[in-house]
């Protein structure tokens, strides 16, 4: 392509810095959001892998128990009878640091003599251990920790480290520091506390048991036989799995969460795409005459197409590179929100550093540049149609659009129908689901011209009555400059629709959860040990506390339950054993199964109650059998009913506590519900129960209302990231509208100068432009309402359903719709302020001369 053409392009961009700058900003924010979410997701995944790597070490296989762990005698027999020398016993638990900062540590109890082949850092290989290793072996309170972490917490060798395991508080003595020799090991060890296995057994009250046995069994025919022999030798209640199996099952829990965040982040990019489309369209419109001239000089259509595309490419590259930089910064904020949500909902995770991989950056680069080029294709094609005959005729485009409106509307409806068809595909694939939503949105934007024409026609008499000639002119202006106003209105309505959609989805979800909590939480008091997770009790109550509770006066009934996470077929099963009385049972809402029959089956025939998400993810119905690993080997249980539950997106399997006691060995209680006697003062009862635990024991005793409020607070917290993302999307849309209005008014410099020359005062001009932008905002808001509600319905009935299997009650909140309408009008008015000011204060003589 001729150098002069490129030079001309660059000069054009240089002469329109605000337009180009805003466009770059828009694409940068879009890319930044995508990159930030990707980095946050990846950092969380990497932190998990890193911590799992350091915990697993070089182990290839693990022997695990189901509820109580592995009897320590099995380890001894394994070495003696089967000669497995490369084996190591491990006790593990997450523990809470009792300091000023909220820190979660992974406590690992190890046998130093067996560790050598497994975890090099414990033997000082690849790590230096300062302090005495001998003390570590002999003092039951001795602990090793990362020197970096100790320094951060201001701790030194010999200092006490106060931790809490479940409800029990412990004080350890730092006997040595792990000093990793590389950055990788440093991050891996930051959250680890190493104690001797006997000390861990005592602290965790696992007398005679260990959490697991790690094994190194390399691949090979001989070893296959060894594995077979081991499997046969193991008792029914123990299982031999690969070391990675449990990690994979755990990480599987956040797949849908990750994907939904990614999809939401793409929304910002889609809005950014509109912005690029907008900018390139304006730049083509403004240069139609020049492009037509170039065509008359013999520049081919292909050359014009390449010219416009290369301009977009340049903007895309600059915007994307900037976006990547901003994304890395934003990612550091989002990674905290993502890890907070994972900690609230799924598993304990500490993310100490952000992982920036070339793959992630390349992905951002491809997306940013790709989306920009994609958005520029249509304007570039339009540029090639600039012909010399019509270069002087600016109204031609508008009349073309009016002529093509029925066609455009039909195409819009067809694209929407295509989206609908994609959504009808019976799949659980979220990419296909989002792939159906996108054409729905794009199709809807193609209806914009029709809606705007109709709206302006309806508004004209009213505007005329209210604002006279200026009112009439404002409505005509919006219709007359549809090629420019239409894109701005579409971009704003998409962003506002996203607000309505996401807000309505969250509100519907929230009200469903509130309603569910109201009906489910019927006890007066709930008791649990402090849990490291918000949605699940990761610890158990001390048996002595449970015994003492039985003696408290004023209690009518005590319900209790035990929670276990059990890996089944590569996924985690959340098994809850519940004492469930008829009065608890009545609080369940059932989706499938006869309640009376289900209760009988649950109590007397080992029947299971499964939550809606569990049934959905595992494709299970009432009457189906589920195989569950027990301490007596695998057992089949029949599903008695499917109930509504919003506490866990992976789903819950509920079994009677009596049945649990029969098949599982660890009977410690995760939580208790207390019903006071009629007339009992609940607050007084709470106080009495709070006095029961030992001084070094912490038990949470919460009233019904407090628990409901806490649950809702956690719900709200998990949606903070969603809100942040859609605020960013609105930010991009605002930039888009601002850019569009600026372009529009500059395009009309001559026309407005003629109005000024004919006696329109600057004040009147400002009023005209303000009315026009206000109308554009109003139409965007009105268009966004049906679009947003449609989007909400898709999020609720398609995305949520296919991601998590939840049935949510769709709830339209008039205040959300009103807020969104106000948001659209205010955004448009704000975006129109500067152009109105600029135009009203520019010299009409100059504008007329320039033309």
């Amino acid at each position: 392509m001729a150098n002069l053409l490129n030079k001309s392009s660059l000069r054009y961009m240089w002469r329109h810095p605000w337009q180009i700058g805003l466009s770059i900003l828009g694409i940068a924010v879009g890319v930044a959001v995508v990159i930030a979410i990707d980095l946050a997701n990846q950092s969380a995944n990497n932190a998990f892998s890193l911590s799992m790597d350091s915990v697993t070490g070089k182990a290839t296989h693990q022997i695990t128990g189901v509820s109580a762990g592995v009897p320590d005698s099995v380890f001894v027999d394994l070495r003696r009878e089967l000669g497995f020398r490369q084996s190591a016993p491990v006790i593990e638990s997450h523990v809470k640091y009792q300091g000023a900062e909220r820190e979660i540590f992974y406590l690992m109890g190890v046998d130093a003599f067996s560790e050598a082949p497994f975890r090099a850092y414990i033997q000082g290989i690849g790590t230096r251990i300062s302090g005495g290793f001998g003390d570590f072996m002999t003092n039951p309170r001795a602990v090793l920790m990362s020197s970096d972490k100790a320094a951060k917490l201001g701790l030194e060798i010999g200092d006490s480290l106060h931790i809490q395991i479940g409800s029990r508080k412990h004080s350890l003595i730092i006997s040595g520091m792990l000093k990793p020799e590389d950055e990788y090991s440093n991050h891996a060890l930051e959250t680890m506390l190493i104690v001797d296995i006997a000390a861990a057994q005592e602290m965790l009250r696992m007398d005679g048991y260990i959490s697991r046995i790690d094994l190194i069994i390399p691949q090979g025919a001989e070893n296959e036989k060894q594995l077979e022999r081991l499997s046969e030798w193991l008792p029914d209640n123990l299982r031999l799995t690969t070391a990675s199996a449990r990690n994979e099952a755990t990480i599987q829990m956040i797949r849908a969460f990750d994907l939904n965040l990614t999809a939401l982040s793409l929304l910002a990019l889609v809005v950014g795409m509109f912005l690029i489309f907008n900018t390139m369209t304006f730049s083509v419109v403004r240069r139609r005459k020049q492009l037509g001239l170039l065509r008359s000089l013999g520049v081919t259509r292909k050359e014009i197409f390449r010219l416009i595309l290369s301009e977009a490419l340049l903007l895309g590259i600059i915007g994307t590179v900037l976006g990547i930089g901003v994304g890395i910064f934003l990612g550091q904020i989002l990674v905290q929100l993502v890890s907070q949500t994972i900690n609230d909902l799924y598993f304990i995770l500490t993310v100490n550093q952000m992982t920036i991989t070339p793959a992630s950056l390349i992905k951002g680069l491809c997306l940013g540049v790709g989306v920009t080029v994609l958005a520029a294709i249509k304007p570039a094609r339009e540029a090639t149609t600039a012909n010399i005959r019509s270069v002087m005729n600016r109204s031609r485009q508008e009349s073309n659009l009016r002529d093509n409106m029925p066609k455009l509307t039909l195409i819009g409806l067809a694209v929407m129908a295509l989206g609908g068809l994609i959504l009808l595909i019976p799949t659980r694939n979220l990419i296909i689901s989002y792939g159906g939503i996108l054409p729905m949105l794009i199709g809807a934007t193609l209806l914009t011209p029709l809606v705007v024409f109709a709206a302006m026609r309806l508004a004209r008499p009213l505007m005329s009555k209210g604002f006279g000639l200026l009112g009439r002119m404002a409505t005509r202006d919006v219709s007359a400059h549809m090629t420019r106003t239409g894109v701005a209105i579409a971009a704003l309505s998409i962003a506002v629709a996203a607000t309505i959609g996401v807000d309505t989805m969250i509100t519907s979800f929230r009200s469903t959860v509130v309603h569910w909590l109201e009906s489910r939480l019927r006890a007066d008091i709930y008791i649990s040990p402090p849990s490291l997770l918000s949605r699940r009790n990761s610890a158990t109550l001390e048996p002595e506390f449970v015994d003492d509770l039985q003696e408290v006066d004023g209690i009518d009934y005590i319900g209790y339950f035990r929670e276990n996470m059990i890996p089944v077929d590569g996924r985690m099963m959340h098994l809850v054993a519940s004492s469930l009385s008829q009065r608890n049972f009545d609080s369940f809402g059932f989706k499938r199964g006869d309640p009376a029959e289900a209760f009988a089956a649950f109590k007397t025939r080992e029947g299971l109650l499964i939550s809606e998400p569990y049934a959905f993810h595992n494709n299970i119905d009432v009457g189906d059998a589920i195989t569950i690993p027990t301490d007596r080997g695998e057992r089949e249980f029949e599903v008695a009913a499917i109930y509504y539950d919003y506490g866990s997106d992976i789903g819950v399997v509920v079994i009677s506590f009596d049945v649990y006691r029969k098949y599982w060995d660890n009977h410690r209680i995760s939580g208790i519900s207390v019903y006071g006697k009629p007339g009992q003062d609940v607050e007084q009862l709470v106080e009495t129960i709070r006095r029961l635990p030992d001084p070094d024991e912490e038990v949470l005793v919460r009233s019904n209302q407090f628990l409901k409020d806490t649950s809702i607070a956690i719900f709200d917290r998990t949606f903070i990231i969603t809100s942040v993302l859609h605020i960013l999307a609105i930010g991009v849309a605002f930039i888009g509208v601002f850019s569009a209005l600026m372009s529009l008014q500059l395009e009309r410099t001559h026309e407005l100068a003629v109005l000024r020359a004919n006696g329109l005062t600057p004040k009147q001009l400002k009023k005209l432009l303000t009315l026009q932008t206000g109308l554009m905002g109003l139409v965007s808001g009105l268009l966004a309402i049906p679009l947003g509600l449609g989007l909400a319905a898709l999020l609720i009935y398609v995305v949520n359903q296919r991601s998590f299997g939840w049935t949510l009650q769709f709830q339209i909140m008039p205040e959300i719709l009103l807020q969104s309408l106000v948001l659209a009008v205010v955004a448009a008015l704000l975006a129109g302020l500067y152009p109105a000011y600029k135009m009203a204060n520019s010299s009409p003589a100059l504008a007329l001369k320039e033309e």
Partner: protein
């Protein structure tokens, strides 16, 4: 003698809303190499349409347009563009210089599009600027020039790549009388000295003095009139 430009039974109409507006109806026209032709006619009579057809910007509804040995109707869009790039020089009423290129760059552009080397292009641009008396304005942007100066640059640009045909659409239509006269004499000198074929669509009686032949459009067909008749 074989005509250089030959229009045979050329018709052209445009759709305007629901009605079709016939602009040219079975027009026949023959122009020899080196001739200067003036087209007279009211606004909207079809003068510009004819220029568009001869430059290959537009295609006739029917009939053939032969330029030298080439039948434009048989060329595709790309081929017509390349033909225009090589063989046509345009002069417009509103000058139509590229606002983001300097005067010198505006002149170099047609040469660069035709694959000329930059050193040679620059030398040629300087010669042309001297010819039109604007050697000192090479680095100025078009918006710094007066209308007359812009049109002189436009003439230089139209001629710089030595096209066989110059098409001028109301070249003095946007200039005052005195400047118009200067432009006409410049066109006359530069076009005639290189023996180019030139077709000028105009209202201006003064332009007629340049013409070898004068045509006017009557009932959608071109009719040759003498310069005296045209002068009225």
């Amino acid at each position: 003698m074989i005509s250089y430009i030959c229009l045979k039974q050329v018709s052209k109409s445009y759709q305007e809303g629901g009605t079709r507006h016939q602009v040219l109806d079975a027009v026949n026209l023959e122009i020899q190499q080196g001739e200067t032709i003036v087209l007279l006619g009211k606004s909207g009579s079809g003068k510009s349409t004819l220029l568009n057809l001869i430059s290959g910007i537009d295609l006739p509804d029917s009939g053939d347009i032969l330029i030298g040995s080439q039948n434009l109707s048989a060329l595709n869009e790309e081929e017509r563009t390349l033909f225009r790039r090589r063989d046509i020089g345009f002069i417009f009423q509103f000058f139509n210089l590229i606002p983001t290129l300097t005067v010198e760059e505006n002149l170099i552009l047609p040469l660069e599009l035709n694959g000329g080397n930059s050193q040679g292009a620059r030398q040629r641009a300087n010669i042309m600027l001297q010819e039109v008396g604007l050697a000192d304005r090479a680095t100025s942007f078009p918006d710094r020039l007066s209308g007359g100066e812009q049109q002189r640059v436009a003439i230089a640009r139209a001629l710089i790549h030595q096209p066989a045909i110059i098409l001028a659409d109301e070249p003095t239509g946007n200039l005052d009388e005195e400047t118009g006269r200067i432009i006409i004499s410049l066109m006359d000198r530069l076009v005639k000295q290189e023996n180019r074929t030139m077709i000028i669509a105009t209202h201006s009686r003064e332009v007629i003095d340049l013409a070898d032949k004068v045509y006017t459009l009557r009932q959608r067909r071109f009719v040759e009139i003498t310069a005296e008749v045209a002068d009225g």
